[in-house]
Symmetry: C2
Subunit: 386 residues, 2 copies
């Protein structure tokens, strides 16, 4: 096991009816900016639950935070927060709203060009406190200090991580996820699944707890993922998916082990350039990463094959091929296609993606730092055609 420092101070309120805990979490003296997305929370009753719990508080609203939240949009919220002297941000929505709100929290008092928060990651000096009511299990943003932001004008999708933007609390009510579309649900499960794989499918680090926990999350996502599309209103299924997605990226399974974020980095460029859903890009890239890195990831892919996918195949090459195929089948079963050409993207896209990777300094990816631009191009070629 590698040495590590781990701390996660987020207070989780999990379960039906927990949105009422906002009463205790946000004081009556706080000036709150409520941030949300396209307004689905007004249709599914979440907005009303939130406003009921916040009764008596000074609450301003900022809606319209889009998927892959835009710097340009968020800067409008920053201006409002500054004008209204907001001292608490409440994000209500999925990972994009939570991520966007973390950026707002960091930008309100930021000295300089706020885009530097993404491009010149230096520790923040301060951030306005935030909390969240999560309505889409996927990104893990509710229990970590990271955020991914897109500058629409330049198609840059970048991330920052800072302990100052850990949510003070996160409310996870599985009932709020009943109304998610099959596509949102599937993308969310895919995102969480790939988060685990990127902290697990590297090389053995003799980290038994981290491995077992990773396998436990993957098994849960497979078992519950198979149920949820047929039974979208099954509370227990939604609850297990929600808690699994949170545990997938709260730092725990990644503590003390090597990590490989190649898939997310390539996926970000594909979304920024071509507008694919985040989950779709991951389902495209990770099978190709597994194939390209099969030799270096050999032992962990074999462990994944046996413990998670129930593949009992003596020949290691065959076992690895089966593991890649079964991973792809899982995404396909969820309704997420796994090749670029299935989204109308062809080989012409590859040089465009490579240019962006270079621009963003993504030239030494992977747990060994050996995924240079040539390797990334090869991975993308492996992801081209079904």
């Amino acid at each position: 096991m590698q040495n590590f420092t781990y701390q996660n101070p987020v207070r989780i309120h999990f379960g039906k009816g927990e949105i009422s805990k906002l009463q205790d979490e946000i004081s009556s003296k706080q000036r709150v900016l409520l941030t949300y997305g396209g307004g689905s929370i007004k249709k599914n009753g979440v907005y009303k639950q939130v406003m009921d719990a916040l009764a008596g508080r000074e609450v301003y609203e900022f809606s319209g935070i889009e998927p892959n939240p835009h710097f340009e949009t968020l800067m409008q919220a920053v201006k409002i927060a500054q004008e209204k002297k907001i001292d608490f941000l409440l994000a209500v929505g999925g990972g994009s709203v939570v991520d966007g709100t973390k950026f707002i929290a960091a930008a309100i008092d930021f000295n300089g060009d706020p885009w530097d928060i993404l491009t010149k990651p230096a520790p923040l000096k301060s951030a306005v406190p935030l909390g969240c009511v999560l309505t889409l299990p996927a990104t893990g943003s509710e229990m970590n200090g990271g955020a991914v932001i897109t500058k629409a004008s330049t198609k840059d999708k970048l991330f920052f991580i800072d302990p100052l933007v850990f949510p003070k609390f996160a409310i996870l009510d599985p009932e709020t996820t009943f109304s998610l579309s099959p596509r949102q649900t599937a993308n969310g499960i895919t995102d969480a699944f790939v988060h685990v794989l990127e902290q697990y499918l590297t090389y053995p680090a003799a980290a038994s707890i981290q491995d077992r926990f990773s396998e436990g999350i993957l098994l849960t996502l497979i078992e519950e993922g198979e149920k949820v599309l047929k039974h979208p209103n099954d509370y227990e299924v939604r609850a297990n998916i929600m808690w699994a997605a949170t545990m997938a990226l709260n730092g725990l399974i990644g503590a003390g082990v090597p990590q490989d974020w190649t898939t997310h980095m390539l996926g970000h460029e594909i979304t920024a350039l071509f507008g694919l859903d985040h989950g779709q890009t991951l389902a495209i890239v990770i099978p190709a990463v597994m194939k390209f890195q099969a030799h270096k990831k050999r032992e962990k892919i074999l462990q994944y094959a046996e413990r998670v996918l129930n593949i009992h195949e003596q020949n290691p090459e065959k076992a690895i091929a089966k593991a890649i195929a079964k991973t792809r089948e899982f995404f396909t079963m969820l309704g997420v296609k796994t090749y670029l050409n299935e989204y109308g993207i062809n080989a012409d896209a590859i040089p465009k993606i490579i240019v962006q990777l270079e621009k963003h300094g993504m030239t030494a990816l992977g747990e060994h730092g050996n995924i240079d631009l040539i390797a990334s191009a090869e991975i993308l070629r492996l992801a081209l055609n079904a």
Copy 2:
């Protein structure tokens, strides 16, 4: 899954050499009371590492905190801390030292009889901040807000839980555990193993992540437990045991699921009356609890049999019997005996234990609250003779 609130703010520094982080964790202005046990930390180099890291700070020492730390001993430390105006407590040792130091932290500013912290558990108003350097993986105290304290004069062994006594940080260096005796190592593994079982072997609560994580900790303790007695200086083995024991009782696997602390409550009385090691009492009681509650715990014992113990037996009664036998074999393999008579305790002990359970209000134990004094006596009878 049941609703839950979960927060764990402890900062973990894990790995070899991490004791040097004390420099950053404790400011040069703090007045530190270093608490420890019988002095083994002076033989194995831990004391020197700690004092080197604390160079330049005002450090007082309190040694002699015994296993199952005594209220009477700890009150001496409270007096010293008050006199010296201590504003930070640093526990260096195993769970008893950490637990004892939590009590000291709570008692320093406590208004009233400090024994009330154990007998009339009401939320604390304040506690002196504490941190720890853990040298014995077992209790999980390094990452939770609980402590078990014994009043030697009356043989009362009681616990309290309060978020104010969460350690600010915990340093876990597996190398500090190389010098543990086989008995300490075995007791520690047993303690952690039973912590998991008490949060896992109840009734199904559709909590997939909690189940999988529990199973992952149990599998790790079995696999590494089989190695550690032969290879006490294997860093990776010690590291996995250490992290497993922390995860076994930091609140995570118990969030949202029923729990059954019968084994610990009966075990505490046995230790208080007869002086057995804590781990020994757990190895005695839990097989008897499993047997007595086999019907109510049926589904989870069968899940444990299959997923953890690799028992593939079609007949459920036989599977349960095998699971109990294999659990006993695991403790025995570690060198921990599993029947009262193997420690020279006979049936005369049972009424004495029952009197203490009644005195301490332990009359409705278990996940269903159905373990009354008669049931406890029956469990103890099942634990009597090999």
